[in-house]
């Protein structure tokens, strides 16, 4: 079922789509089941004989499995190219790195744009509401299918970091170490509020057609673009926006109208317009919902530490960025305190950066060194050369 891609660099890349038949449904938190289930994934490097070098990277809201190879739709480099490659913290010459598209996504894994076997049409709003735990349950199915009993590390930033925490809570025996970057253990009111703005923008677009736009042959591009524009502001710090654009104008002088006079307007419009080429509006609704529903402590009587008690053997690393106001350092500190409270061995560092939430995609030397240091030490503890 896997399609092996040719070797590009000095290491193997692979992946494809894993299809779980109808008799192996994904059981969802909502009580619904999803079958058949397809999971699209990419791999970099090869699994060692002892099967101890597998690393799972969990992607953020609008990312996908194309972590370290060009995106098939945009042709842009992988979103974590800076951190994955020979000599980088995740090294395909040493690690077998897996990244899969989340359930509900739109890059090959079953999502609202997939065909509902019951109707023969795209699911649309008939797609069940999914959670972060559902995404992780699907990843666990894939990891098992790939013949991996224990992951050397599970890493992720933002929504990926939430999946990392969920992995530790739900499958503590199946991961050796965990790296949670720029994330939170629950969505705050402000987080939910921003997502609601995005969802309302999509649903207010007449082309959304009550979610059945694929059937109608329409695309709610305008709504999705506005959702992306609003969200994109939350990924950057005020200082980064100011440094990048200030009050710089697109052209000489003001237009005395509502064109994109300011460079920041033009930038946001571009972000919105290019996003719709690679993302599905309903996927955006479903995945933002999953984030809003995320509260790792809730099933444990509100005591976050209780979620981590089974994960005492897992080595944790929690990282935040000083200018991230989407998932600020205080959220990471809450995670660390809960880990300490649960008796887990955890490392935590706040990386000084003025680049906001998106700093984890960017060239931040201290972040890179910290990540590298932690993974190196864990590799030694795990007996990886």
């Amino acid at each position: 079922m896997t399609a092996q891609a040719p070797i590009t660099a000095g290491y193997e890349t692979g992946g494809g789509t894993w299809r779980f038949p109808a008799d192996r449904p994904l059981r969802l938190d909502s009580g619904a089941t999803l079958a058949p289930l397809e999971i699209a994934y990419k791999t970099y490097g090869s699994l060692n004989a002892a099967r101890t070098n597998a690393v799972l990277v969990c992607h953020a809201l609008t990312m996908d499995q194309h972590m370290a190879s060009p995106h098939p739709l945009t042709g842009k480099p992988g979103w974590w190219d800076l951190f994955v490659g020979p000599g980088r913290p995740l090294d395909p010459e040493r690690h077998f790195i897996i990244c899969s598209n989340v359930v509900g996504g739109c890059m090959g894994t079953t999502g609202p744009a997939s065909i509902d076997p019951a109707t023969g049409e795209a699911y649309g709003l008939k797609f069940p509401v999914i959670t972060i735990a559902d995404m992780v349950r699907a990843q666990a199915m894939l990891v098992e299918a790939l013949g991996i009993e224990t992951l050397f590390a599970v890493l992720g930033g933002s929504m990926g970091g939430m999946q990392v925490l969920q992995w530790a809570a739900d499958y503590p025996d199946r991961l050796f170490s965990a790296v949670c970057i720029a994330a939170a253990a629950r969505h705050s009111a402000q987080n939910i509020a921003f997502h609601e703005v995005g969802r309302q923008a999509i649903m207010a677009d007449p082309n959304w057609c009550g979610g059945a736009y694929l059937k109608a042959g329409m695309r709610p591009d305008k709504g999705l673009a506005v959702a992306r524009m609003a969200a994109h502001i939350t990924y950057l710090s005020e200082a980064a926006l100011q440094r990048k654009f200030g009050r710089e104008l697109q052209r000489d002088g003001l237009s005395w109208g509502f064109d994109a006079d300011f460079q920041v307007e033009s930038y946001l419009r571009h972000q919105g317009a290019s996003f719709v080429d690679r993302f599905d509006a309903n996927s955006y609704l479903y995945i933002t919902r999953a984030l809003d529903y995320f509260d790792l402590a809730a099933p444990h009587g509100g005591v976050l530490a209780a979620a981590f008690v089974p994960a005492r053997k897992v080595k944790f690393c929690v990282l935040s960025f000083s200018s991230d106001w989407l998932y600020p350092t205080s959220e990471s500190r809450d995670i660390v305190r809960a880990l300490n409270g649960a008796g887990c061995r955890a490392s935590f560092a706040e990386v000084q950066s003025d680049k906001g939430h998106d700093a984890f995609f960017l060239d931040e030397p201290v972040f890179e060194q910290t990540l590298r240091g932690f993974l190196e030490a864990q590799a030694q503890a795990r007996g990886l050369a």
Binding site: R333, G341, G343, F348, A349, E350, A377
Partner: protein, 216 residues
Amino acid sequence: MTSIREDFAEILKLVRPGARVLDIGCEDGALLELLTREKQIDGQGLEISPDGVAACLARGLAVVQGDGDRDLDHFPSQAFDYAILSKTLQQMREPRHVLSELLRIAGQAVVSVPNFGHWKVRWALLSRGRMPETGVLPEPWYSTPNIHLCTLRDFVSLCDALDLRIDACAALSEGKPARPIDPRRPIENWRAETALFLLSRKVEGKPAPGQAGLFE
């Protein structure tokens, strides 16, 4: 420094093999690494400086970027066998609270404090009438991080007030081997430049007021 720091050597002697150790203000993790290598401890560091945190991570130590003044409250009761606070108690905003917290979190605390009653300090103050600057306390008054200095006698009386038992005490001087002392002898308040204490609670399992553990 070619040999192990004298306080590290003394702490190494005190710590039981395989113990769970929290090192508060662990700097670059040198002590935790030493204890891990020599005593196979299960260690956790707390360090405020980003460089220190990065150095600890590179050594493979578990380290949390944080502040002994604020972040001790979040550790559950008796989560460690030892809590080590090496030469930074006098830099804390609330040393009394911190000391009490150490013995809530851990069975025993290893604490070292520079002795402001040492003869060099007394002489400097007496002769020059100015805040002493010594090898142990090198900074001028306006830039020193040491905001809560005490004498050996002050520290012992705080231990008494908090109902703490002094299990062991050693005097440390730069470049000299540690010397076991009775910290209650007045002469030691003149002679000891720095004192290293091993402390425990007099009443076993008695938590500090208002500091119940997470799962209690």
